[in-house]
Structure formats: structure tokens, C-alpha cells
Amino acid sequence: MKLTVDGTEHELDIETDMPLLWVLRDELGLTGVKYGCGIAECGACMVHIDGQAVHSCQTLVGDVWGEVTTIHGLAAPGTLHAVQAAWVKHQVAQCGYCQSGQIMQAAALLAQTPDPTDQEIDDAMSMNLCRCGTYPRIRAAVRTAARTLQEGTQ
């Protein structure tokens, strides 16, 4: 089976019903993608498939329809995506375990909705659970990232 992840094509001998999450973590060593619940409730496992945010724990590897981007490939090596830069600036993370998924969700939101309303931010980011309670900082960081991305395109 062929799978393209973060720009690299892999040839894998695995079951087609293995969730993408475990392929990424255990077969490819991309441990920035996190296991939290396994039932698409917490969002810690979020990756992009062709730019769309999906729960990798509920996406079977045989059903992957495009190129996979993980937190490791969101920005070019040695650089930060605008969303990651905003996460650093606002010091969002506490334990940080959910933040890969939060960042992938926010990046997908801003790719589709460059100037989201507060309601749109809340709606999209409510897919992701944070037990430490970093929501106020996530809100602020998404707004900062939206501004950065818009200034970049003007």
C-alpha cells in the first residue's frame, strides 16, 4: 500500500483497516500525532488529508483519499506555520498533548475561512478537547494567526 505523508511517499505492508493514527505513530514514527480517545471525540489525532482536518483515529488507512499532512509537515523544516508561531507567541500549551490536533484544526479553519468570526472559531475549535483549559489562549492565538495570514496575502 502506498501512502504519502508530509511530502514523502511510503510503501507499507499493513492491514487496510488499521486506523491512520497508528500507521503514523507506530509504523512511521510520527509521534507528534497523538492518541487521546480513539473515537473522534478529543481531536488530539487530527491531521490533514488534502487540506481537510480529519480524525486519524477514525480514518482507516485504506480509506485515505489524498496526501496526509501531520504536525511534523505543516511548515517547512526549521520554520513555523503562522498558526504555530501564534501558539508560541501566546504560550498556549500547558501539557501540550492536545496542541498538535488543535493546531491542525486551526490551520484547516484558517485555510478555508481566512477571517473567521468568534462564533466560527468557537464552532471549529470545539471539535478539540483540552483538559488543561487553554481555550482562552487558543482563541487569542487563532485570531493572531488569522491576522498574520491575511497580512501575508495582501
Binding site: 488499521m18 511548515a75 501539557c95
Partner: protein, 746 residues
């Protein structure tokens, strides 16, 4: 405040877990420095200047022995050392260090005594100082009780200063210049001509001389780091997927393990049939362990799928199996026989209650899982009589001792490598999962084994927050609160927890009344009694421990009485408050929230206060009644900690604590049926999401002379402040958590 004369002997023993026969000898041991655990591993040209500062030719490492669970403990500990060491945080590496008696935690034991933290009497102070010796003697290295900063405040700055002065002495020997001519900055000793001698180059010489221990700590006016916003050292790694947690540990030849143990916690496994699992792809071995069975495989998912395919016959729960029975046990515990403590008993409560018809109310708080987002995991390798463990833990020395016992080796053969934790909230004060992982690794022929619990397996064995009930009776008179009598019943958290750790538990369990008996209010007739319910499901410390339930009970009932008196909830609390720093906290939150200013129709404020872990914290919650439910708009928080070490991390901790308190209060509960927790994933164990998250405005106060922690104190006032706001908005009094049972939230 001092009621020490009334303290029963039995109660006094509470904090003295280890004191019996040990104080005199302990004092001797206390004066002798603990062995430096870093000394053993040193090579030529390296120096371990105190157990906290390791200098090698290639860099400086600061040891941060309190576990980082996401609360920023590693950063804050490093900051305190670096302040005095004159080194920048981006110049150092951080390492949790080995488990060691040198990293004992005295602040934890000081708060375990039956003295309110506001009690500064001679007796209380003497008792606190006596606690230091046995704790140091036993080398209790625990992260918890919001003690990382109080415990490290002096200790870590002194460690930095000792290392700095020793490096200066070494530089003096190298250059022949007097120490008084030398300065330090940016990880180097500066000579008068401007020459920089990096600490790394001085390590060899520093290792040859006795540490300079006669040091003076800097005046606050000279601080570079303390009190200023700094960039937490783990932020970039945690924003790029680079941070490694225990669950990410990968070793050559490693097997991946999954586990199922009896969901009736502590129950036996009567039998199992693994015939289907054995044939599944990637399965290496089926391994029975105490109370369950595990699978070793070549991938986590294959291991989890195979363990699910095993048919298992579980034995009964060693406790009452149904939730209704747990509530009944609490209802029946308000008796003299079950009374565990009565540390607050001012005025004449019985006479006042008998003189009129008292207001009565009953409150309930459910079991709650800790459920940190990183499922529990541990990686072990057992080879050639040596055990290596990689796991996120708050109790590394217990892990060392208990795994040594499971494997049958000496603790010295067990090496614990503490990893970054993806949350804990008290969950990592337990080590049963590590012991099971050790049983798996013992049967892996020397190969490393990483055990990852499924979310369901983790939540089935969470050792949740205590279930608790309270009954209040009180009276008002002349527009004021006159009598306040609160009884609280719960099983003993400390007994449940200590038993699993193999530690004795003597005397009263102060957690049964923590956050209620020790509040700084001068109510004329004021009584708080703790009732120890029989042991039910096993329970454990959950962020803010006893105060997580008792803050809700105390502050809800006080609010009920204040409303009955026709008084203002803030004014009456201020009138009753007899502790200056706490008064200031209440006044501050009043100003911040514009308390008393009119609000539009359907909108209201509620206030609550709780002094826990020595930190007074007050919160005002503002809610709006909407057609589809209650919306939590805003929370104002003021907390007194003596010193705010890092304002960014402080704000993050307070906001997180408020969300923790509110999120569980409205949505979450763990219930038991057939001896098993019914909520085993985040679909049924619900928590606040961003759309429900209020704006949270935070202020830290620095009026008290003592430095306190902030990880837990914002939790207890959150639920009652919300319930009090909902009462103000709707006239409905919520007396049972989670509130979603009675009301919708948007």
C-alpha cells in the same frame, strides 16, 4: 484562629505519618546533607554543584525534580535556579534527574498538619518545622499539593547561589584574582577586564573545591527573571509536535503492549480464553498479569485489538457494586461513630440552632475521573538484573520501590526516567499501571515493552475523585449570618491512596474537611465536622483534592445563608473575613468584576471564595439566562500567592483551574454499575469545550509574606461561584453536581 488546645491527640498524628520514634534521629539526619545523587555519574571535567546544577564541558543542566505535568513546573524550577546562577534559560538544558532522597518535599507535609494555613501561632510553626525532619529523612519526593513553588522558593534559589559562588571561587583559583573582583552573567564569570570565563570551562576546577555554602540571596530589586514574563522552555516543542511524552518513547527492539485488568477495580481474573487473539497478526505473546491479561505485539493497535479479542471472566468487585449503594453509605455516615474530625467549633452552635428553625440544605458531588489527555503508559526494559522505566510520574521513588518489589530486585537496580506528562491532575500519584507493565516486561526476554492503556482501560481504572455529601444547618440574625454548621461525609482519600502505596495512614483524614474547616471567617457560631464514610470504590487525589468538593459545599451554603439574611454576598463575606490577605482578595475581585453595578435582565453575578493549599482565591462568575440554557460569560479571579513567579504561566494556571472547576461542575461525573465505572471515554465523560468557555480575567496579589502555589487553588471556588450566579439569575439553587442534571448550558 488558634484552636490548637482542642486538637485531639489522634488528629495531631495525621501529618506525622513517619514521625513515630523518628523525630530525634530525624533531626540529626536533617542537619546532614542528603547525598548528591548526581555525584555518581560524573566524569572528568564535570561538576555537580548541589543536586540541582550539573555542569559539564558541553553545557549546563538544571535538575527539576518536581514532575512537569503541564503546569510548567520544569520551567518554574529552572527559573528559580537560573535567577541566582546568572544564566539565561536558553543556555541550559533541563532534566528531571534521578529519583532521590535529596529531592524531598517539605512543603507538602507542612500543609498536612491540622493547623489552618492562616494560623501563624508558635505551636503551628513549631509543628511545621518538626515535619521537615522526617520528610527529609524518608526522602519523600512527591509532586503535588501545589507545593512545587513553596517548596522550591528558597531551596532552588539557594542551589543557584551556591553554584554561582562556587564557580566564582573556582575562577578565583584559576586567575589569582580575589572573588570580590569577579562578577557573573549569562553563564560565565566576568573578570574586571571584561574577559568571560564560561561556567562549562570552570567545572573541573569547581569539582575540586568544597561548595561555597555561605550565600546571600538577591534582593528582589535585582531579579532578572522572577516576576517577569518569560518564554516557557517547552513551548516551541509543544507547538511543533516535537515534544516527547511517555507515550512516544521508542526503543530498539521494543514490543508494544496492551492490557485489560478487571474493570471492577482490584477484582480478580477468574479465567480467560486467548485462542483467537493468539492467531492475530503481529501478536508476539499473551501474558497474564495480576488481575488481568496483556498482549505483546509489534504495534499498539494490533496489541489493543488482540487484547479486546480475549474472552475474560472477571471476578466480583471488592466494594459495593452500585452507585445507589455508594450514596446510601454516605447518607448513613453522618453519625458520632463515623465522626473523623471537628477542627472548627466556634461559639455555641447547638444552642443557636435550637433557638430557632434553622435553614437546612444537602449537597452532593460525584466521583470524577482525572482523565488526562495522554492515556497512561509506561515503557520498561528488564535485562541483566537491571530495570529501566520511562514514564510520567509524580512519585518516582515509589515507582522505583514498588517495581523493584514486583521484579524482585533491589531499588538501586531500578532506574526511573521521568518523561514529560500529557496532563495528570493527580492521576500520576498512582503507579499500579507501572507495576502491571513491569509484569509484562518480565516476560519479554529482555526486550523493551511499551504499555499504552486504551482510553477505556485507563478510565476504567482511574481511581477517581471522591464522592462526597454535605449537610448544612444555619441561622441568620439581624441581617447577618449567625450560625453555620456543616457536616461533610466522604470515604478517606488518603487511606485509599496510601494503602496502594504501602504507606500507613494514621489519625484523621484532613482532606475530608479541607477547604471548609480552615476558612478565614469569624462566624459567631461556626462548626465543621468531617465524617469518614466506609471505603467504597478506590479513590485518589484529584486536582484540589478535598477542597474540590468542600469548596462547593461551604461556599454554596454560606451563600444560601447570606441570601436568607438579606445581605450582599460580597459585603457579608468581607464583614466575616478575619484574615487580611483574604480580605484583599475579596475586595480585589469585587473591584475587577464591578460587583454591585446593575446588569441587564437575565444576567447575574455570583461570588465564591476558598482558601486552599495556603492560597486565598476568590472568583466572580457572570452568567446570562438564554432560551436554550445558561451561558457563562465571564469569570474574574483574584488569588494571593505572595509572589507571582511568572505572570504568563500564572495566568495560564488560573484560567486552566477555573475551566477545570467549571467544566466538571456542569458536565462530568463517574458513576458505578456492576462495580464498573460507566463512563470510559470522552463521549460519556464530558468536559467543557471552547464554545462554553467564558472570558477569564486574572489578577495575582503579592501581599502575603509566604510564597504559595497556584495549580489547585483556583478550582474550589469555580463551581460554587457558578451555582451562586445561577441562583442570582434564576432563583434556582443547584445543590448537586453535575449541574447539567438540572439545567442546560450553552
Amino acid at each position: 484562629m488558634s484552636r490548637a488546645g482542642k486538637i485531639a491527640r489522634r488528629t495531631f498524628l495525621t501529618g506525622s505519618i513517619a514521625t513515630a520514634g523518628g523525630v530525634a534521629f530525624g533531626v540529626y539526619m536533617y542537619r546532614r546533607p542528603s547525598a548528591n545523587p548526581l555525584a555518581a555519574g560524573l566524569h572528568e571535567g564535570e561538576a555537580a554543584l548541589t543536586p540541582y546544577v550539573l555542569i559539564r564541558p558541553d553545557g549546563v543542566t538544571l535538575i527539576t525534580p518536581r514532575a512537569d505535568l503541564g503546569q510548567g513546573a520544569a520551567h518554574v524550577q529552572a527559573l528559580l535556579i537560573a535567577e541566582e546562577l546568572d544564566i539565561e534559560l536558553d543556555q541550559v538544558g533541563l532534566d528531571p534527574g534521578p529519583p532521590s532522597a535529596a529531592y524531598y518535599n517539605t512543603a507538602l507535609s507542612r500543609e498536612a498538619l491540622p493547623f489552618a494555613s492562616t494560623n501563624e501561632s508558635r505551636l503551628a510553626e513549631t509543628a511545621r518545622s518538626l515535619m521537615d525532619a522526617p520528610i527529609k529523612f524518608l526522602g519523600i519526593q512527591i509532586t503535588g499539593g501545589s507545593t512545587t513553588v513553596p517548596d522550591g522558593w528558597q531551596k532552588l534559589r539557594v542551589a543557584g547561589a551556591v553554584a554561582r559562588e562556587t564557580l566564582k571561587a573556582a575562577a578565583s583559583l584559576e586567575t589569582g584574582l580575589p572573588v570580590s573582583d569577579l562578577r557573573t552573567r549569562g553563564g560565565a564569570v566576568l573578570l574586571p577586564d571584561g574577559t568571560r570565563l564560561p561556567y562549562t570551562g570552570l567545572a573541573a576546577r569547581a569539582a575540586e573545591i568544597d561548595p561555597v555554602t555561605d550565600v546571600t540571596l538577591r534582593d528582589p530589586s535585582a531579579w532578572r527573571l522572577i516576576g517577569k514574563p518569560t518564554m516557557r522552555s517547552d513551548i516551541t516543542a509543544k507547538s511543533t509536535g516535537q515534544q516527547l511524552y511517555g507515550i512516544d518513547v521508542t526503543l530498539p527492539g521494543m514490543l508494544f503492549a496492551a492490557l485489560r485488568t478487571n474493570p471492577r477495580q482490584g477484582g480478580e481474573m477468574l479465567g480467560y480464553d486467548a485462542s483467537r487473539a493468539e492467531t492475530m497478526r503481529g501478536v508476539h505473546k499473551i501474558v497474564p498479569v495480576t488481575g488481568g491479561v496483556g498482549v505483546l505485539a509489534d504495534n499498539s493497535w494490533r496489541a489493543m485489538r488482540a487484547v479486546e479479542a480475549i474472552r475474560i471472566d472477571w471476578g466480583p468487585a471488592p466494594y459495593r457494586p452500585h452507585q445507589g449503594e455508594h450514596w446510601r453509605a454516605l447518607e448513613n455516615s453522618f453519625t458520632d461513630k463515623r465522626r473523623d474530625s471537628r477542627l472548627r467549633n466556634d461559639g455555641d452552635v447547638d444552642a443557636t440552632l435550637a433557638s430557632t428553625t434553622p435553614l437546612e440544605a444537602e449537597y452532593r458531588a460525584p466521583y470524577l475521573a482525572h482523565a488526562p489527555l495522554e492515556p497512561m503508559n509506561a515503557t520498561l526494559q528488564i535485562k541483566d538484573g537491571k530495570v529501566d522505566i520511562w514514564t510520567g510520574t509524580q512519585i518516582p521513588r515509589f515507582v522505583q520501590k514498588n517495581v523493584a518489589s514486583v521484579v524482585g530486585v533491589k531499588p538501586a537496580q531500578v532506574h526511573v526516567h521521568v518523561t514529560m506528562s500529557g496532563g495528570s491532575f493527580g492521576h500520576r500519584l498512582e503507579d499500579m499501571m507501572v507495576r502491571r507493565a513491569a509484569e509484562l516486561a518480565m516476560q519479554a526476554d529482555g526486550r523493551p515493552v511499551k504499555l499504552t492503556l486504551s482510553r477505556e482501560e485507563d478510565m476504567a481504572h482511574d481511581y477517581p475523585r471522591q464522592i462526597a455529601m454535605a449537610r448544612g444547618r444555619g441561622t441568620v440574625s439581624g441581617g447577618h449570618v449567625q450560625a453555620f454548621d456543616l457536616g461533610i461525609a466522604m470515604p478517606s482519600i488518603m487511606r485509599s491512596q496510601m494503602r496502594r502505596l504501602g504507606m500507613p495512614m494514621m489519625g484523621a483524614d484532613l482532606q475530608i474537611v479541607a477547604g471548609a474547616w480552615d476558612q478565614p471567617f469569624a462566624i459567631p457560631d461556626y462548626r465543621v465536622s468531617g465524617y469518614r464514610a466506609p471505603d467504597l470504590a478506590p479513590i485518589s487525589s484529584w486536582r484540589s483534592v478535598g477542597a474540590s468538593t468542600n469548596g462547593f459545599f461551604h461556599e454554596s451554603f454560606l451563600d444560601e445563608l447570606i441570601h436568607a439574611a438579606g445581605a450582599d454576598p460580597l459585603e457579608e463575606r468581607l464583614r466575616l473575613c478575619n484574615h487580611a490577605p483574604s480580605r484583599k482578595v475579596l475586595e480585589t475581585v469585587g473591584e475587577m468584576s464591578d460587583w454591585g453595578a446593575p446588569l441587564p435582565e437575565g444576567r447575574a453575578r455570583g461570588i465564591a471564595f476558598c482558601l486552599s493549599f495556603g492560597t486565598p482565591c476568590a472568583e466572580v462568575v457572570e452568567v446570562t439566562v438564554t432560551e436554550s440554557g445558561i451561558r457563562i460569560d465571564k469569570v474574574h479571579v483574584a488569588a494571593e500567592v505572595g509572589r507571582v513567579i511568572d505572570p504568563v504561566n500564572f495566568e495560564n494556571q488560573v484560567q486552566g483551574g477555573v475551566i477545570w472547576g467549571l467544566g466538571h461542575a456542569i458536565l462530568a461525573e463517574t458513576t458505578y454499575d456492576d462495580g464498573m465505572a460507566e463512563q470510559r471515554n470522552f463521549d460519556s465523560f464530558r468536559f467543557m469545550r471552547m464554545y462554553q468557555c467564558p472570558e477569564i480575567i486574572v489578577r495575582g496579589l503579592e501581599n502575603d509574606s509566604r510564597v504559595r502555589g497556584i495549580g489547585e487553588p483556583p478550582v474550589p471556588p469555580a463551581a460554587p461561584a457558578l451555582a451562586n450566579a445561577i441562583f442570582a439569575a434564576t432563583g434556582i439553587r443547584l445543590r448537586q453536581m453535575p449541574f447539567v442534571r438540572d439545567m442546560d448550558f450553552v
